[in-house]
Symmetry: C2
């Protein structure tokens, strides 16, 4: 048995309350007693029992973050930002992987770590509006993404605007035959995919171009359709594409590799743009043009809304926050940085190890 408040109290010759006061940094404690207590605390190596405290306080200071995965550049960065943000509010994040599975998502939405977590941030892939409507658990919940459109606070980027911006960028550099590579259906493919595709169509229309459904390739791992196969499908079209809009950067990386393998040059033959702004996109050659969602904003808004609910924001309907994004034109659309051939000295004096 570890030392309890009571043990400390006995040792210091004071009451439990006083010790508690010291531990919790209450103001009204005489300096002498405080000193005595602090000493006893030290001597005994007291560690509060958070379970007991939480039980008593009815709050734990923990929130759950449920993501399809913490692996992968997008979610790992998001998780990181949310952890940081939560810290600002003295909240600890408990991470849960749903693997995008419906049952797990339901478990999270429906009574999950009850009374142990004060709130939940969930990024659903399969969960539907119906699930949310019949939700009985009252733990505050904030959703990430546009997938579900009912019953809880949510923060998401405007996928239509994203699709439109990417397409417009490609159009602006003179491309007219723009292939699209999207995920189906467990990823950005579902609702988000549709909306993004919608933005693509809209941009085409605005440019007076007709939408050609054969230009849309779908990656569907369940059916063995990976990004490589999808790229091939697009390349094997009778009329050659001159640009490729990938719904995320990882797809774009694979596609660019495939383009290389088949002898196409990026962006000369085919310009490529992705979405997410993963780190690798900045270092590969050509560097990858991309649309970067404002993840910091997503994290901040999600935590903010959750905290508000926890603090007792009246549940007057679900709130919906749109997060921003930035188009980052790089070499995969704008052209390669000129290269100095041969081993030469850098223009700037280079530092030695």
């Amino acid at each position: 048995m570890r030392t309890r408040l009571k043990d400390v109290a006995e040792r210091a010759g004071v009451s439990v309350k006083t010790v508690s006061n010291v531990v919790n940094d209450y103001v009204h404690v005489s300096p002498e007693l405080r000193a005595k207590v602090t000493q006893a605390l030290e001597d005994l190596g007291y560690r509060p029992n958070l379970s007991a405290r939480n039980l008593r306080r009815g709050r734990s200071g923990m929130i759950a973050l449920a993501l399809p995965s913490v692996h992968g550049p997008y979610f790992s960065e998001l998780a990181h930002l949310i952890v940081r943000e939560a810290e600002q509010h003295d909240l600890t994040v408990l991470i849960d992987c749903t693997y995008g599975e419906l049952t797990r998502e339901q478990t999270v939405a429906e009574g999950f770590r009850t009374h142990l977590i004060d709130g939940i941030i969930l990024c659903p892939w399969q969960l539907g509006a119906a699930d949310l409507r019949k939700r009985e658990d009252t733990t505050p919940l904030v959703l990430l993404g546009e997938r579900v459109s009912y019953g809880a606070d949510a923060v998401a980027i405007d996928s239509r605007a994203v699709g439109q911006a990417a397409t417009e960028h490609l159009l602006s550099i003179g491309r007219r035959r723009i292939g699209v590579m999207r995920h189906l259906p467990r990823n950005t493919g579902g609702v988000v995919g549709k909306i993004r595709l919608d933005g693509y169509k809209r941009a085409l229309a605005a440019a007076g171009l007709e939408f050609d459904p054969t230009l849309v390739a779908s990656v569907d791992r369940a059916h063995g359709l990976d990004a490589k196969v999808a790229t091939d499908a697009l390349l094997d079209l009778p009329e050659q594409i001159d640009a490729l809009f990938c719904f995320n950067d990882e797809l774009a990386l694979v596609a660019m590799r495939r383009l290389y393998e088949r002898g196409y040059r990026v962006p000369d033959d085919i310009a490529v743009i992705g979405v997410d702004g993963i780190a690798a996109g900045a270092t590969i050659t050509p560097t990858l043009s991309t649309i970067v969602p404002d993840k910091q904003q997503i994290a901040a808004e999600a935590v903010r809304m959750l905290v508000e609910r926890i603090e007792g924001e009246p549940d007057d309907g679900a709130r919906r926050v749109k997060a921003g994004f930035t188009l980052l034109p790089r070499e995969s659309t704008m052209g390669l940085k000129r290269v100095r051939r041969g081993p030469r000295r850098s223009t700037k004096q280079a530092a030695r190890s």
Copy 2:
């Protein structure tokens, strides 16, 4: 106030104990009572209060995973695997970011979420053996990495062997002037870096080559020495290098970019190898040769050891587990896959969207 065990008991007309038995799937409950209780449970939408349960049981089923960051390809994958692994043991993982800061690492090692977590997995960057020795908290602790060599269970890959394997690979393809790029000091640069460098030296010695300290470039962000600058330093040496061993894949990616910018071809002019096996390495061109630590094993061993400690494994000294790794030779050392020039049909019939 949410419904408690007591409420359910009243509704079902039984005692609290019986309800508890049902909730906990105890055996000796008559079918009729069980049915009644189950019904009441449903009706009232009972959710157990985990804080109370944990207080009573003296266990929480949660472990903390403290990493410098969850962002970044290496740690995010490791985190993912540990979460998975913990799940197998009915443990929930609570993630904590230390940012590699000493005070945070100390906080984690020393009474952190006391009695709320059953154990800790910590990947320290700064924490020293002294910190561990004077550790008073008794929460089971498992360390990740070779940084700290005293006072707690640890699992790590053999950095010397890694350094040696990478170097030998470079030597085996005929390279003789092998540059090294390492991190200082908060990253793999400290202890691990030294050990890895040791492996490098050893491999050189075995090949009858002399160690040339000018071939070692150090990346040190604190002093504005990024991977680009370090690459330049290596390239500007009087005698040209023909290979580059980067202590992690992210450095290697940046280095390869810089090599491109300065007109060197990989691997023809300079072969490059990294460590970690990040995903992007498989898709960039040239694909990145790398050494892949067996992260699955690291995760499994860490959780296993922790669980053993939690279950009361006698503390008879710290245990040390070495995890394996694999050398993955790819294009950045072995040469580019041949490219079919011009838009041609793929050999295999490509699938259409």
